[in-house]
Each structure stands twice: as structure tokens, then as C-alpha cells.
Amino acid sequence: MTRARAGFWPTGRRSLLVVFCALAAAFILSPLLIIILNSFNSAAYSPFPPPGLSLHWYRNLLSGTGDFGPAALYTLALACLSTLVSVTVGTLASHVLQRRRFRGSELVRAGLLMPIVLPKILLGVGLFVFFSQAHIYGSLWSLALTHALISLPFVVAIVSAALVGADPSLEEASRDLGAGGLRTFWLVTFPQIRTAMITSALFAFIVSADQLESTILLTRPGRTTLPVAMYNYVLQYQDPTIAALSSLVIAVSAVLVILAGILLRRGDTVSVLGRAERGATR
């Protein structure tokens, strides 16, 4: 931003804005910071300030309280599977919808974006009844497809936005030179939309790993996902074991963000997300 002429730029309000941002940042970060502090708390409840510090709750977690280990592995498998499905299916659909206009293509796009506004709890209840009647209740695949459906709109929005920026004449040139559809995609289209595909995969992964409303009715006891196990634990107990686990989850998320930042260093993530946002609401 270029330097403004004196008098145009109100300096007094600027410091007000800085104070506001500091307060907002405190609001945004405080629930996360208090969890980390509370995980080292020595008491079995959550007083402030903590009476003492201990690693008791981490030891408790490692000794298998709450069975969170298997739940975490299950969540990981589910997230990988559903991400694979939704990125593949979503990229195929976005490519068709972006490159070939046909009668009803806007309707199809609206249909694919619809799950974004559908309250997840409705999906959970509807699928609970459907899966019980179809006798696939509680299977890994039924959950993976559910999660893929939920992340599909994000993939379609993000990848479609990137395809708007990718030059279709390059694809036509590739086809005219005799390359098949798959080869053209791999050599011409994919390099242009790679950032968007990675972004959408990250989105899909996070969405799946964070699903509770849609999933809480669909898992069998003893074979639940991490969010469901954590929800059930918080409902029953108030001790900081859950704070220790949450701190670990926050640490893993932080590592993921840093990794994503390195992966996406070349692409402007904010602009990809911005374009996707506009694409989703259009």
C-alpha cells in the first residue's frame, strides 16, 4: 500500500483498530491457550489459576483412558479415504461443469454445492435411518462416503475457481495434438490447478477429521471417531484428560498448518480461498 498524503489517513482511529485487533486475537486464542494451560493442571477439575502443575493427565491419556488411540487411528483412516474420494469425484465434476456447458449444468452445480447448507445433524439422522435399513450401519465405507459428500462442495468450489483461471485453449491444443483425456489432464490441467487441489484436499481432510454432527449417530460403540469419543468423554467427565488430548490435537493441527504453508508457499492460498468463496456463493 502506497504512502498516503498527510491528513487523508486518520492515525487516531488506527491505534483504536490495533487495540480492537489485539482484543479480538485474545478472544480467538483464549479457548486454545486455556486448554493447554489446563492440561498441566494438577487438580481433577479446572480452577483458575491452577493450584499446581503436573503431567498426570498426559500419563493418564497414554495409559489408555477413554480409548482415544484406536479412535484417532480410525479418524485418520476415514479422513484419508474420504479425502481421496471427494477430491477425485469433485475434480472430475468441476472439470466437466467448468469446461462443458450443457442444459442443466447450473442445476447440477447447485446440487453438488447443496450439502454445504444442509444442517449436518439432519444428514446424520437421515443416514442413520437409511444405513440401518440398508444394513451397512457402522461400516467404514458408509462413513467415508458420508464425509466425502460433506467435503464435496468445498472441493467443487475451490477446484472450479482454479479452473476459471486455467487456460482451456491449452487443453484443446493438447487434445488436438493427439493426447488422450487422462494424459491432457495430467500434463496440462493438473499443473495449473495443483495448488487448488492440495488446498481442497487439506480442506476435505480437516472437514472429515472434525465431523461430529453427521457422524455421532453413525458409529458403533467401541468403533468411534476421535471427535465422537471426545464429545462422549466431555459429556461424562470433566477432568483435564481431555485437555491433554486436545493439546495434542492442537499441536498436530499446528504442524499440519506449517506443512501446508510450506507446500503452498508458491500459491497464494488466501486468493484461492477467496475465489472459492465467491464461487460457492454465486
Binding site: 483498530l17 479480538a24 486464542l29 450443457f102 447440477v108 444428514l123 437421515g126 466425502a148 464435496l152 456463493t281
Partner: protein, 298 residues
């Protein structure tokens, strides 16, 4: 597909074949997505619709069609209260999130790259932490002997904790936290449309900053505001984790009610509330789409 063929009749024959093949190809490539939506969304919704007409009586579900669930919903004061609470909490959260989110996005837009990046990461971070985790954080934060009440007691000297948990206040505070990033980023991305040349033009024409803000910046950022408000309203109306964990059974909004009814095998009641929630969500989206069209013209 027919139109694609018709458009290319005067092309060489190979082209026509190509067009036809690609037309079928389009359907083949789309079919996985359509199958997924049908299997995981359409069929459950149809089942939902059917269940809303079944009969629930004396704690048991009967395979008999009736309008009982609809009648209960229309006449029961409890359901009306839940509906009002749902709408009120949704509206309150949307307004509060916009009031906090707009200045944040505006600050990101004004800031130099480094503080902008920092602010962006801070705003984005909660999205990566599960809603259950964040809600647990608020349970600790807002409890009677938590940090917020500790601050209030040391600041005002009173020894009575302010009840922030297991009531509407806590639920609204936590929902604003959940929806904040969903508002900041759309507004920020629409603010980026305000090019530096526009500011220079305003400056050259002798406009003050406040005039520039009112006449240029805010109108251009309206599409982002509308998009953010739309996402916030749908998320707040459909939220379950936050009201169920922070409401402590005292704050019942539609999604919580649906979950409770499903667990009580009162599927017809859950289906009726669910359909109502869906209708509200669709109405909100339609209203905001209309708003977004007018905001883009402005």
C-alpha cells in the same frame, strides 16, 4: 448433449463424433459425483420425509401414516419456544460475528504483509481445531471458577461469579468464536477488490478517509459481508456441539431437539423438526442470494 451435436453439424464428421463422445463423457465423469449426492443426501432426505408422516405414540414407533407429528409441532408451546430460540440465537450470532469480523477484515486489508499474515493465521487457526475441543475450552474459560470470572472478580471486587455457562450467553459467545473466520475471509477477499488507484482517485478528488470508507470501501465489500452472513447464519442454525455441551440441557435449539428426539426413537418428531430446519436453511440461502445480487449491483 443434443445441442452440442446440433452446433457442430457443419463441422467435419470426425468432429461430430468427438462432440458426441465428449457429451457422453461429460455424463460419465459427472456420474460419481451425482451418485454420491444421491446415495448420501437425496435418499436419506426422502426417507426423512416418509418418517415425518409416521405415528409415534406412548414411546413406540408405528408404521401407520398420520399427521400426528405435524399436529404436535403446530400446537405445542414447547416446540414454538425452541423455534424462536433457534432463530433468535442465529440472528444474534450473525450480527455479533459481523460486528467483530468486519473490523478484523478491514485491519487485515490495511495492514502491511507481515502483520496481515499474522492476523490471518490467528483468525484461521480455530478452523483447524475441532469444535469439540474449542467448546471444551469455553467450558473451562467460562466456568464459575474459570479465568473470565477470575478477571471479573478481581476487577470489580464482587465475589459472586457471573453465570456464563449452561445458558444462552455462553452458547452465543462460543458460536461467535466458531463463525468468526467464516466471516473475516470473505470480507477480506472482497476488500481486496478495492484497488489502490481507487484510493488515489478519492484522495485526488479531495475526499476525506471517512468519505472514501463510506462511499467506496463499504459498498465494494458488501458481497463479502453478505456471503459471510449467509455462512454464519446457516452454521449457527445448524450447530449442535456448542449448544449441547455449553447449554447443559438448558438451551434447546432445533438441532439439539432433533438429536434428542432421534435418540428417543421419536423419529416422526425429529423428521418434522428436521424438515423445518431445512426449509429455514433454504429460505436463508435464497434471501442471501437475492441480497448478494443487489449488493453486487450497488
Amino acid at each position: 448433449m443434443n445441442s452440442a451435436t446440433a452446433l457442430t453439424v457443419d463441422q467435419p464428421a470426425a468432429r461430430v463424433r468427438g462432440a458426441r463422445r465428449r457429451g457422453w463423457g461429460a455424463f460419465t465423469l459427472l456420474s460419481p459425483a451425482l451418485a454420491l449426492v444421491t446415495f448420501a443426501c437425496l435418499i436419506p432426505m426422502l426417507i426423512f420425509l416418509r418418517f415425518s408422516f409416521l405415528t409415534f405414540s406412548g414411546g413406540k414407533l408405528y408404521d401407520v401414516y398420520s399427521l400426528g407429528a405435524y399436529r404436535t409441532f403446530l400446537t405445542s408451546a414447547y416446540y414454538h419456544q425452541v423455534l424462536l430460540d433457534t432463530l433468535w440465537i442465529g440472528a444474534l450470532v450473525t450480527v455479533l460475528t459481523l460486528v467483530i469480523g468486519y473490523p478484523l477484515a478491514y485491519a487485515m486489508w490495511l495492514a502491511k504483509p507481515l502483520p496481515r499474515g499474522l492476523l490471518g493465521v490467528i483468525v484461521f487457526m480455530p478452523l483447524l481445531v475441532s469444535e469439540v475441543v474449542r467448546t471444551y475450552g469455553f467450558q473451562v474459560l467460562l466456568s464459575d471458577d474459570g479465568p473470565v470470572n477470575w478477571l471479573i472478580e478481581h476487577g470489580t471486587g464482587s465475589s459472586d461469579p457471573v453465570p456464563l455457562l449452561f445458558n444462552r450467553t455462553g452458547v452465543v459467545i462460543a458460536l461467535v468464536h466458531v463463525t468468526l473466520p467464516l466471516v473475516v475471509f470473505p470480507i477480506y477477499s472482497s476488500l481486496r477488490r478495492v484497488e489502490p488507484s481507487l484510493r488515489e482517485a478519492a484522495e485526488d478528488l479531495g475526499a476525506r478517509w471517512s468519505t472514501f470508507l463510506r462511499r467506496v470501501v463499504i459498498p465494494l465489500s458488501l458481497p463479502g459481508v453478505v456471503a459471510g452472513a449467509e455462512i454464519t447464519a446457516t452454521v449457527a442454525l445448524g450447530s449442535f456441539v456448542t449448544p449441547s455441551l455449553l447449554g447443559g440441557g438448558k438451551v434447546t435449539i432445533l438441532p439439539v431437539l432433533i438429536y434428542n428426539d432421534t435418540n428417543a426413537i421419536n423419529w416422526p418428531a425429529a423428521a418434522v423438526s428436521g424438515l423445518l430446519l431445512m426449509i429455514i436453511a433454504v429460505l436463508i440461502v435464497l434471501a442471501f442470494q437475492r441480497l448478494s445480487r443487489t449488493s453486487e449491483v450497488a
